[in-house]
Symmetry: C2
Subunit: 197 residues, 2 copies
Amino acid sequence: MATKRAQMMEETRAKLIRAAREAFATKGYAAASMDDITADAGLTRGALYHNFGGKQGLLQAVVDQIDAEMVERLIAAQERAPSPWEGLLAEGVTYIEMSLEPEVQRIMLLDGPAVLGDPSQWPNQNACLLRTAQTIQVLIDEGTVKPVDAEAAARLINGAALNAALWIAATDEPRAVLPKAVEAFRQLAAGLLQTER
Amino acid sequence: MATKRAQMMEETRAKLIRAAREAFATKGYAAASMDDITADAGLTRGALYHNFGGKQGLLQAVVDQIDAEMVERLIAAQERAPSPWEGLLAEGVTYIEMSLEPEVQRIMLLDGPAVLGDPSQWPNQNACLLRTAQTIQVLIDEGTVKPVDAEAAARLINGAALNAALWIAATDEPRAVLPKAVEAFRQLAAGLLQTER
DNA sequence: CGCATTGACATACGCCGCGTATGTGCCAGC
DNA sequence: GCTGGCACATACGCGGCGTATGTCAATGCG
């Protein structure tokens, strides 16, 4: 077994991450105090510094966790689709929908990049992005989409979806503009398709 | 003439905004202290609070100023293009290029949204976005692009350009990936075109 | 099985930065 | 020229972060 101390430590980390997710999502990174977070977790700032090195480290851990969950949902969405191309669209739509969740939006799309820098520089290398790039590469190889740079296309696709989500979330009637955004997204994405269809 | 006091006040605001632009761009919003900013401007925090109400107000003023400059450059780029469609592409490319500037990136793309919330909610209503939406609407009216929602398309286009820029800026050789990004952007944007071309 | 060591976490302290309340000098109007 | 008000400076308190130090328990070794 993984020596008692190690599993206690994992438990501690998990409690801190859980409390931090809650606080960062509701109050934002800057407004969330480490004292509050650690108190919620039934600990003190000492544990936080010991496990994560500081506030940024904690945010990084939270980001990594959410990123992992997101990529799992992306994969699920893509696998449910009837074709690889529909899979890419499904990923995009799923990304938009996930970005509507306050937690994702606040932590992954706003505070994350602002505090930790560009997502492509994150230690985890932003699994969501990698996933999309892989999917596009498959489509290029099978001749469905034009031979563009896969990473570039993934970036733009994700960026488009991201901003669509931010826009939707900021409007008064999110459910009214969502279909408009999805439609525009599909049109844009179609630009990647081979012309001789 | 605009009564001496009023123009002194404008001068004060200008000096503060100038110093804040510098500080926010280089150190980031959170790390930039109001004491440093006001000292650079040859003033104190009293002036800052009087004129802008606080740190956020100052950031808002900086954002508004940069946004105005950006939209001016976008218009110039669009007017230089041979056709409205090329104008839209030129706007996108210009947007990408502007987003490569550290000042724009840090203030407009990272800290701005994180601190002030989504750009579409800003008092100025983000002139860049409005501009793109107008351009797209013209293209829809003249039948060049499909009848999608102009605002939605503008959001996605800008979002794609934005993420392309963040990506480029984060890489080691920005000048190498820029053309790849631009190419992918043009392909994506082509998805908006009427199919019967 | 007892002791030393190390590691996980708590406690304590100082500094910095923001916001506000209060003070001061200087321009406008009568 | 005197007064009121405004633009800005000064002074103060509070909260939050980071670090240095302390404490207790678990591990490893004889």
